[in-house]
């Protein structure tokens, strides 16, 4: 246990000292929310069910999801590739430290950062934009964020396992998430997408995650069991491919 505490402590320290990851993971989703609020904050959206809500009710959860994905998927995959390619993982595999410790260190670290992002977004939404979580749905928010962060950590490990080099890691992670943000209701309300595109997005991992977290803010009639199941399925796919292709040593050796 002491080992895990030390590992997470060191991983968090290392994370907090890398300005580029700190910016892309922590600050960028906040900057996006502030900008989107400044531009679209006064508008209203008609939901599929016919209800009309202020756009802020969709934007706050959307960028909360972006923050969690940045921490668990983008930052995680970049860090894991970096540790593998610089020989740090190989080095630790030569000590008595168990293999799970390195994975757990990374995943717990990204969960801590994801949690931080959720708190920042909750506070920002509540105090700056007057958007509050429905108390009855708070458990859904907690469960949704936890399941989402773990699922995207698994997908992050999968991406790391498939990424060939340190240089390829940041562009690959962003090439995967940026289009997904557009079609999954993060940058653009899902209601304004063509139906066929919305249908495809609904099967990919980002849209279900957005749906669950949004549900905590805007309670609709149907409980989002289906998105939750999809998210868990995506996490499982990530985990299977990650454990199949994962390696500890640099690619070049």
């Amino acid at each position: 246990m002491n080992m895990l505490v030390e590992q997470v402590r060191a991983d968090l320290l290392a994370f907090s000292r890398r300005p580029e990851t700190l910016f892309f993971t922590v600050f960028l989703p906040v900057i996006f929310l502030v900008l989107f609020e400044a531009i679209f904050g006064g508008q209203s959206v008609t939901l599929a069910g016919g209800d009309v809500v202020a756009q802020s009710y969709l934007q706050v959860p959307a960028f909360m999801v972006m923050g969690v994905i940045s921490a668990s998927f983008v930052a995680l995959s970049i860090t894991v590739v970096n540790r593998r390619e610089t020989g740090i993982f190989k080095r630790v595999r030569g000590t008595p430290a168990p293999a799970w410790l390195l994975i757990a260190g990374q995943v717990v670290t990204s969960l801590v950062i994801a949690l931080l992002m959720v708190i920042v977004m909750l506070a920002l939404g509540s105090f700056a934009y007057g958007v509050r979580v429905d108390i009855g749905h708070l458990p859904w928010l907690v469960a949704g964020v936890l399941v989402g962060a773990i699922a995207f950590s698994c997908l992050g490990m999968m991406l790391a396992a498939l990424t060939p080099s340190t240089e390829a890691a940041p562009p690959l992670a962003n090439v995967v998430v940026l289009p997904l943000y557009f079609i999954s209701g993060v940058f653009v309300p899902i209601e304004s997408l063509p139906t066929w595109l919305g249908n495809i997005a609904a099967l990919l991992p980002v849209a279900p995650f957005v749906k669950i977290v949004t549900w905590a803010y805007v309670p609709a009639t149907t409980t989002p069991w289906r998105p939750l199941g999809l998210l868990i399925a995506w996490g499982a796919i990530g985990l299977i491919i990650a454990s199949w292709r994962f390696r500890w040593t640099p690619r070049r050796s």
Binding site: N2, M3, E6, Q7, R9, A10, L13, A14, R17, R18, R83, T86, G87, I88, K90, R91, V92, R93, G94, T95, P96, A97, P98, T249, P250
Partner: protein, 300 residues
């Protein structure tokens, strides 16, 4: 006393090519053992098999009484490993790095002890990414020492060092010997082996080509070279008969001989009888470097 490392008939193939081809060696407790060879001779492959990183295709290997191929965490707790290529995590300080690695081991040194051992007192709170090459390598060794290892592997630890950094590094390794730690060192620097090692093995084409103390290896090439320039107006053919045939290269006469005293006496009395001086006369023993180059198959 049982050997710390014992290898019999080790074979490792990549495709059809045997990188390690029937290698035998033993390392005794407390010795500094240097493993020499030019690049591609199989040094790192052998070392990584001993460390448990790579599998082998044949032979028996025992390191600290266990087969590295299926040894567990308790075995790794007795090892210290410095890989050929590895950088510590740049964002953590020396202190923080050692503290993390200490957490991996059951009975570690304190961080301060190790910092003192590798001489990084002044850099203790500096980030690893801002250390010089030599300092970063010393931190690497510190990481390898934190778990109180019985056996330390160092794979080409001083490649790319300036002379000052190398000497500081050698002091650290000498300190290890004083602690009674067994050290397995690969290097392609002969002087490093000469300064540090109790015994040296020279690897060639995946086999041990020579093995012994640095002094014993040096004695392997027993011949001594007598060199001088031809005196003006004298032909090579005019020289007296010596134990071997002299060679003429660029105006310089070279006599590689196993009987230097007799040959010198003949040469000197011949020159004296004719009132000649032998310009630039020198007698040289081959250096360990020359021996290494001859054994490892490189041309001097």
């Amino acid at each position: 006393m049982p050997a710390i490392i014992s290898v019999r008939g080790l074979v490792k193939r990549y495709g059809d090519h045997a990188v390690v081809d029937g290698l035998d060696l033993e390392v005794q407790q407390g010795e500094v053992f240097a493993f020499l060879g030019k690049n591609g001779a199989g040094k790192t492959t052998t070392t990584e098999i001993l460390e448990g990183y790579r599998t082998r295709d044949g032979g028996d290997v025992s390191v600290l009484g266990e087969d590295p191929a299926n040894a567990g965490a308790a075995w790794r707790a007795k090892l210290g490993i410095v890989l050929q290529e590895s950088r510590p995590l740049g964002a953590l300080t020396v202190n923080e790095t050692l503290r993390l690695f200490a957490a991996y081991f059951p009975n570690p040194h304190t961080v301060d002890e190790v910092i003192q051992l590798v001489g990084l007192e002044e850099q203790a709170n500096q980030r690893a990414g801002r250390l010089s090459g030599g300092q970063a390598r010393r931190l690497d060794v510190g990481i390898a020492l934190i778990g109180r290892p019985e056996l330390v592997f160092l794979d080409e630890p001083t490649t790319g060092f300036d002379p000052e950094a190398r000497r500081q590094f050698w002091d650290v390794i000498s300190g290890l010997r004083d602690l009674g730690t067994t050290v397995f060192l690969t290097t392609h620097y002969m002087d490093e082996a000469q300064v540090l090692a109790d015994r040296v093995a020279v690897l060639r084409d995946g086999k041990i080509a020579a093995l012994g103390t640095p002094a014993k290896l040096q004695a392997l090439r027993g011949d001594v070279e007598i060199r001088f320039s031809l005196p003006p107006g004298v032909e090579l053919a005019a020289l007296p008969a010596l134990s071997t045939q002299p060679r003429l290269t660029g105006g310089e006469v070279r006599v590689e001989t196993t009987a230097p005293t007799a040959d010198l006496a003949v040469l000197c009395s011949w020159a004296e009888a004719r009132g000649l001086e032998l310009p630039a006369l020198t007698v040289e023993r081959p250096t360990l470097e020359d021996v290494f180059l001859a054994i490892s198959g490189e041309t001097a």
